[in-house]
């Protein structure tokens, strides 16, 4: 840790190096798969093996091909083999236990048929249900049902035209209170919140494009942040994941040398980080980032998609976890999908910022506003977490999640698995490395009635495939014991 003095609590993160033997074996595994891939493509081309892909229309065969053969190589030959680990359809609430529709494939995953049977009570270690608000009964669901019967499901208009309901104003005021900021604005989709609003933060009064603005983005930022940064047109520089020396060097260079060709000073610098990184399970080094930000006078955009509700003694996110003040973060962004069991995203900050977003955000002008029952779910669950509904259910859930996290991580470490990430992060990646293990792990766990998520290339580096567990306050100790036992 670079500046230990800034931290009020221990910060334990570990990313074990990949053992050399494992790395070699993994490369060999991928090499074999690639060879086989070429062989089968060859057989398909010479019609020795039947081609199962959908193909272009006869009338359009002389058009320029829509996909390049090489783009689809990975898709056809590696992804198809283990395709049954993803897109598993479920037919119940995505709570701690879930019912899955059984599907089989008679042609090696090219097509699936549903047998009609339902596999019941699979322990769900894959859904982002951190505080267990995905429920089909209870105060949240009842409130949402009432609002649904009063307001209907859709809105049919944008925020700036006729889609701004009183419910939206109520929600935004509540979000601002929850985060401890001056003002907030809510959007219908978390992905779109990032991709459509970074432009606003890096815009300039004089010029339409973001000339003269610099964005410093973490190596492992989510696709929505990357897309938002690209769409803004500002210059993007990447710093090593969670590495404060790398960030400081970039900041120093930017201020001292200015813009690349003209040497004029940058108009402003925006740092993009996430609260918890979902593929690594690491938590951003927020005290150091804020210290750097203050020293170099830049702005901070914090994406708390996974950390809001999941970290901090009262669920207020990574800012509370480190004991810092929300005023130090210029733009606090988050989503309602994970801890609140609803859908959508928000941005919180100073009043000038939110006023600007209300006027110039792409989503406010062109996209439909949030659906009323979803808004009600967010309002009820947020009030529950804040304790404003008069019970301590919210606080209990936050504590349960923290306990579950510590317990599960400790158990897995004791059993000798390689776990990435921070000790307190409810996202637990378990390293698998070998391509063969990815598919096998997913299938074997399903046979034992546990649903897990496995991720490989391209979401992770090619030799670091992993299984990712998402803990939830709804998981009981027995469930966690079952899972770790079966591992």
């Amino acid at each position: 840790v670079h500046n230990g003095g800034l931290y009020k609590r221990p910060f334990n993160e570990a990313f074990e190096e990949t053992p050399m033997l494992v790395a070699v074996l993994t490369y060999v595994g991928y090499g074999v798969l690639t060879l086989f891939g070429y062989l089968r493509d060859f057989m398909r081309q010479w019609k020795i093996e039947k081609c199962q892909n959908a193909t272009e229309r006869e009338e359009q065969k002389d058009f320029v091909p829509l996909y390049q053969d090489f783009e689809n190589f990975y898709n056809r030959n590696l992804y198809m083999r283990i395709r049954d680990s993803w897109n598993r359809p479920i037919c119940s609430v995505p709570g701690a236990k879930v019912d899955m529709m059984e599907r089989v494939s008679h042609d090696y995953n090219w097509t699936f048929t549903y047998t009609g049977r339902v596999i019941k009570d699979i322990i769900n270690m894959g859904s982002y249900n951190y505080l267990g608000f995905a429920q089909k009964a209870g105060t949240c669901q009842e409130a949402a049902a009432k609002v649904l019967s009063q307001y209907g499901a859709g809105v049919c208009s944008t925020r700036q035209e006729m889609g701004n309901l009183d419910k939206h104003e109520e929600l935004e005021e509540l979000v601002a209170r929850f985060l401890g900021v001056e003002s907030a604005m809510a959007y219908g989709m978390g992905f779109a919140t990032n991709s459509m609003n970074i432009t606003c933060e890096s815009s300039s009064n004089k010029y339409p494009a973001s000339w003269g603005c610099l964005i410093l983005s973490d190596e492992l930022n989510h696709a929505s942040l990357v897309l938002g940064a690209r769409l803004s047109g500002a210059t993007i520089r990447i710093f090593k994941h969670n590495n404060m020396q790398s960030l400081e060097k970039l900041l120093k260079d930017a201020i001292v040398h200015g813009q690349p060709r003209t040497r004029r000073p940058w108009k402003k610098i925006l740092i993009l980080v996430e609260g918890i990184y979902s593929m690594e399970g690491s938590i951003v080094r927020l005290p150091e980032v804020i210290a750097l930000k203050k020293k170099y006078k830049s702005y901070l955009y914090l994406d708390e998609a996974h950390s809001i509700g999941a970290l901090g003694p009262s669920g207020r996110g990574v800012v509370e976890y480190f004991g810092l003040s929300p005023e130090d973060v210029d733009v606090m962004m988050g989503t309602f999908t994970k801890s609140f069991g609803a859908a959508g995203g928000y941005i919180g900050g100073k009043k000038e910022l939110i006023d600007y977003l209300r006027t110039y955000s792409h989503s406010a002008v062109y996209a439909t506003s949030l659906s009323p029952p979803v808004v009600e779910q967010i309002i009820t669950s947020m009030k529950c977490i804040m304790g404003e509904d008069g019970t301590t259910v919210g606080k209990a859930r936050v504590q349960q999640l923290a306990e579950n996290t510590r317990y599960f991580r400790r158990r897995l470490k004791e059993m000798g698995f390689i776990i990435y990430g921070n000790e307190d992060s409810p996202v637990v990646p378990l390293m698998l490395y070998m391509p063969a293990k990815i598919g096998a792990f997913g299938r074997e766990m399903l046979k034992r009635n546990i649903g897990v998520v496995v991720v490989g290339f391209p979401a992770t580096p090619i030799i670091e495939s992993r299984a990712r567990f998402c803990l939830s306050a709804a998981h009981t100790k027995e469930m966690l014991d079952t899972v770790s036992g079966l591992l």
Partner: protein, 420 residues
């Protein structure tokens, strides 16, 4: 090192966002209390709703609401995950099947946000180096999709097939100079069925001819025409009687006629299946809440069972289109059967700001007398071809003939008192 320290000390950044003047027209939203249905309470006043895109009146339909309630009791509200990781519910699969069957295509794919649908679909196919011919009046979501795709964009004049053919011919001569490059450069035409910004229809039969002549693929955005045009509401392909396989990709959002949230793309499996791995808004975002998917399925059922509502809607559109002709100072922009029209000033008073203020006074006059209207909102600095300021008029099946006539006469009065 000393110098560097000084530079760091001296540098002052601009404020994060420029301040917004308090009286900016877009800053103060109308507040709607209660559901935004046929009779709407805006800023405390009860009005007839001529501003929400609720074309088929399904927003407060009881059957739709009860289907959504049943789904709420079974699944809760959110899906807590993207489609790849336990976020695929049987309702999503059912909705995709029903949409594909309704539009008579092989496959359909659902997105959880209408804006993200076309903005994710275009970059999935068109990459750096490819060429896209797009109409000038394309909506903002298409523009963002094109920007994200980093392809070469060629704008052609709105609905001008001669201009498009000229661009295509120019491209052909370019290709002959460099045939190797031409063999791997994909070309696309992106058009809308009914344009949101102008209310007119695209000449699809001529586009199909151009498609086969110059070997270009067509992406059709049908947000406004799905559930409006055609005998059964299947959109512009049914309206013109075109084989749906001739269109490579149809994208629409479910936020207008279907009165739900989200969007979908439909077409042949060869094309749609690609988005399941490379559509950014599909792979990296949580899936649509099941209650909204159930509402959309029920809305589809209603559309299939009552095909005469489309005819009723068109008749109402014709009626008000005729009634709004001849208002001094305002002109109607849009086809006679389009349910979303624009009313623009016949003569601008010099600056856009003043035009907007003038139209606001017309809108306020109507709102005070019980007709809810809104101005069409745009991001002035970011649109490629900014449309002139206008009042948006939306026609729904729920509006009665008296209400349509009242709206027309109120607008005449407002124009008289404000513009003269």
């Amino acid at each position: 090192v000393q110098e560097k320290e000084e530079l760091i000390e001296e540098w002052q950044p601009e404020p994060l966002v420029p301040p917004v003047p308090k009286d900016h027209p877009a800053l103060n939203y109308n507040i709607v209390s209660g559901p935004p249905t046929h009779i709407i309470t805006v800023n405390g006043k009860e009005c007839v709703n001529f501003a929400s895109f609720n074309f088929l009146g399904l927003l407060d339909n009881e059957k739709v609401k009860s289907a959504a309630q049943a789904s709420l009791k079974k699944y809760g509200v959110g899906t807590c995950g993207p489609r790849g990781f336990y976020g695929t519910f049987d309702v999503h699969l059912e909705l995709e099947e029903r949409l594909a069957k309704f539009m008579r295509t092989e496959e359909a794919i659902i997105y959880s946000y209408g804006f993200a649908t076309i903005a994710s679909a275009i970059p999935a196919y068109s990459k750096r180096g490819d060429i896209v011919f797009v109409d000038e009046a394309a909506c903002f979501a298409i523009q963002k999709g094109l920007q994200a795709s980093r392809s070469n964009i060629k704008l052609f004049k709105h609905n001008d097939m001669a201009d498009l053919e000229r661009l295509l011919k120019e491209q052909e001569t370019e290709d002959q100079k460099n045939p190797r490059k031409a063999r791997v450069t994909r070309r696309f035409i992106v058009v809308e069925g009914l344009y949101v910004n102008t209310g007119d229809i695209c000449p699809l039969p001529e586009l199909i001819k151009l498609k086969y002549k110059y070997k270009v693929r067509i992406f059709l955005e049908e947000s406004l025409s799905f559930g409006v045009l055609g005998q059964h509401g299947r959109g512009i392909t049914e309206h013109f009687g075109i084989n749906i396989d001739d269109i490579d990709l149809i994208s629409a959002n479910m936020e207008n006629s279907l009165a739900s949230i989200g969007g979908f793309c439909c077409g042949r499996s060869f094309i749609i299946d690609h988005q399941r791995l490379s559509g950014q808004g599909y792979c990296f975002s949580a899936s649509l809440p099941p209650l909204l998917a159930a509402a959309a399925i029920e809305a589809l059922n209603i559309m299939e069972d009552n095909p005469d509502i489309f005819q009723t809607l068109r008749a109402k559109c014709e009626r008000i289109h005729k009634a709004l002709q001849g208002i001094s100072g305002l002109k109607v922009v849009g086809e006679s059967f389009s349910p979303a029209l624009h009313l623009q000033l016949e003569e601008s008073c010099g600056s856009r700001e003043n035009d907007v203020k003038l139209l606001k006074r017309v809108v306020d006059y109507c709102m005070n007398s019980g007709i809810a209207l809104t101005q069409a909102r745009y991001l002035e600095k970011e649109e490629k071809c900014l449309p002139p300021p206008s009042i948006r008029i939306v026609i729904t099946v729920e509006q009665t003939e008296q209400e349509l006539d009242k709206a027309a006469s109120l607008l005449k009065e407002a124009a008289q008192s404000v513009l003269n």
